[in-house]
């Protein structure tokens, strides 16, 4: 399945959306319906959605699209860690395995959270199963589930790209405070994951740090697209190198700011991972 097809399907407005939400009365009715399903921890988010509906402002198709795009990425990550940790002999027991289990569980929690959020906002969450993924990326990483270093390299690429993807979508959520805040709260978790996976790789000899130096990835040319643009050292017209007389190298200047990717860029990068 090609993710482009999925995305274009997502981009078609949910035909039932406007029938479901016909003003305040329906909002109260639908709130009563979904309040029983929404996890307690997600309630502030659900309440926000309810108020949006009550005031006649249904979450826009754009917001649902962004959430489904994020959900798609979380499915990729979640399935990747589930499969890796279920593959005998791939991940050595110890701190590394524990960390990967933690990350696996976070990605699964993000899938559940986003599904709940999309439903609560009147959308229909996308669904993916394990069989829909090809983590060799059409043969680019043939030993992804037999070589631990390859597995960690792909994990790093997923996490760093996830950070860039969420960052790129933030402006599309600016009109919806609840959804924006939730997305930011996931975005920084992906960055924590990226930092840890990078530390794991560093400990195994890869030339990486917890942060992204220039556009170096410590993976190889196959991942260049995932890091293109990270090397910039000027922000909002301000040159960061040696700024105001402080000794800031080009490396540090690039590390200090992570860069976003557009949805199209991310889709192009993850498409090979769909079977």
């Amino acid at each position: 399945m090609n993710i482009n097809n999925i995305i274009s399907e997502i981009e078609k407005a949910d035909p039932e959306l406007y029938e479901k939400l016909d003003g305040r009365r329906a909002a109260m009715k639908s709130f009563a319906r979904f309040s029983g399903k929404v996890a307690v921890a997600a309630l502030p988010f659900a309440l926000g959605s309810m108020f949006n509906k009550a005031y006649g402002q249904t979450p826009s198709t754009t917001v649902i699209d962004v959430l489904n795009f994020a959900l798609t990425l979380e499915y990729i990550e979640s399935n990747f860690y589930i499969k890796g940790l279920a593959t005998p002999g791939l991940v050595p027991a110890g701190a590394g395995m524990n960390a990967l289990m933690t990350i696996r569980d976070h990605e699964a929690a993000h899938v559940n959270f986003l599904r709940t959020a999309i439903t609560a906002s009147g959308g229909t969450p996308v669904t993916f199963t394990a069989a829909q993924f090809d983590f060799t990326a059409k043969g680019t990483f043939p030993d992804v589930f037999s070589n631990y270093d390859t597995f960690l390299a792909v994990a790093q690429a997923f996490e760093d790209t996830g950070v860039r993807a969420y960052k790129g979508q933030a402006p599309n959520l600016i009109s919806n405070n609840d959804v924006l805040t939730a997305a930011l709260n996931i975005h920084s978790v992906e960055a924590r994951h990226a930092s840890h996976v990078r530390q794991m790789r560093k400990a195994r000899g890869a030339d990486v740090k917890p942060w992204i130096t220039g556009n170096n990835n410590g993976i190889g040319a196959v991942a260049n697209g995932n890091y293109a643009g990270e090397e910039i050292t000027t922000q909002a017209g301000v040159n960061i190198v040696n700024i105001n007389g402080f000794s800031i190298s080009a490396a540090a200047a690039s590390e200090a700011f992570d860069e976003p990717l557009t949805k199209d860029q991310v889709v192009a990068l993850v498409t090979p991972f769909f079977a």
């Binding site: 978790v189 917890p210 402080f246 800031i248 540090a252 700011f257």
Partner: protein
């Protein structure tokens, strides 16, 4: 750009009409300015204004949020700079190098905000790190963890307060680096704690804090009185 211009204009107007607002240019004037003191006193008498309505005014709108971020970056940058004035003994080469990177990142953030804000920037804050034992690795890393985690919650909470998508993206560019720092520092303290349940909620989301919540915590390290009363709240 139009939106930002209007934000800037409103801040400029506020600076000229509200004596509690302190720009860099008139900061010294504020200290000795008789009219400012008289008006502040009058305001206190009239409204029984709380302490939070005096001091260095972060401003309003997006500029206020950027000044808020600038204040936090001042704390972080000064902290790591002080760490390296006399680094704790027994630090490994790797730890030394990566903590040095973090110092450079925080200085870069601080100076970026200073230049981006220009005439709207708050002055350099007077800070107080006397509760931190800079000779102790545990004390330094514990403080670093607190600052980095706080920074993550601060930026996450500030996102929705910004009007300009460009500033939102900029905040996003910085917050993920703070999260990378936080994870690294946490792992230095206890390997595997990069994203544990002291940072994340039950849905595996980071937390967010309002400026008031953040400043109440960060205030322990800031001697300069900050006035956040004009910051947006939604």
């Amino acid at each position: 750009m139009k939106k930002e211009d209007s934000v800037n204009q409103s801040v400029v107007a506020e600076a000229s009409s509200n004596n509690a607002y302190v720009s860099r240019r008139n900061f010294l004037g504020y200290i000795g300015g008789a009219s400012a003191l008289i008006l502040t006193a009058a305001a206190c008498k009239k409204d029984n204004a709380p302490a939070s309505n005096t001091g260095v005014n972060l401003g309003s709108g997006d500029v206020g949020i950027l000044n808020y971020a600038y204040a936090l970056e001042q704390i972080e940058a000064a902290f790591y700079t002080k760490v390296f004035e006399s680094v704790y003994s027994g630090i490994s080469a790797s730890e030394n190098a990566l903590l040095g990177d973090i110092r450079d990142h925080e200085v870069a953030h601080r100076e970026f905000f200073k230049n981006a804000l220009g005439a709207n920037a708050i002055p350099a804050l007077e800070l107080d790190f006397s509760t931190i034992n800079f000779g102790s690795r545990d004390s330094v890393l514990g403080a670093a963890k607190a600052f980095e985690d706080l920074g993550v919650t601060a930026y996450n909470g500030a996102g929705k307060l910004l009007v300009s998508p460009d500033y939102l993206t900029l905040a996003g560019k910085i917050v993920s680096v703070e999260a990378r720092h936080a994870a690294y520092i946490r792992d230095l303290i206890s390997l595997g704690s990069f994203a544990d349940n002291t940072a994340l909620d039950a849905n595996a989301l980071d937390m967010s804090r309002t400026p008031a919540e953040v400043l109440a915590i960060a205030g322990a390290y800031v001697k300069t009185k900050l006035n956040a009363s004009n910051l947006p709240t939604s």
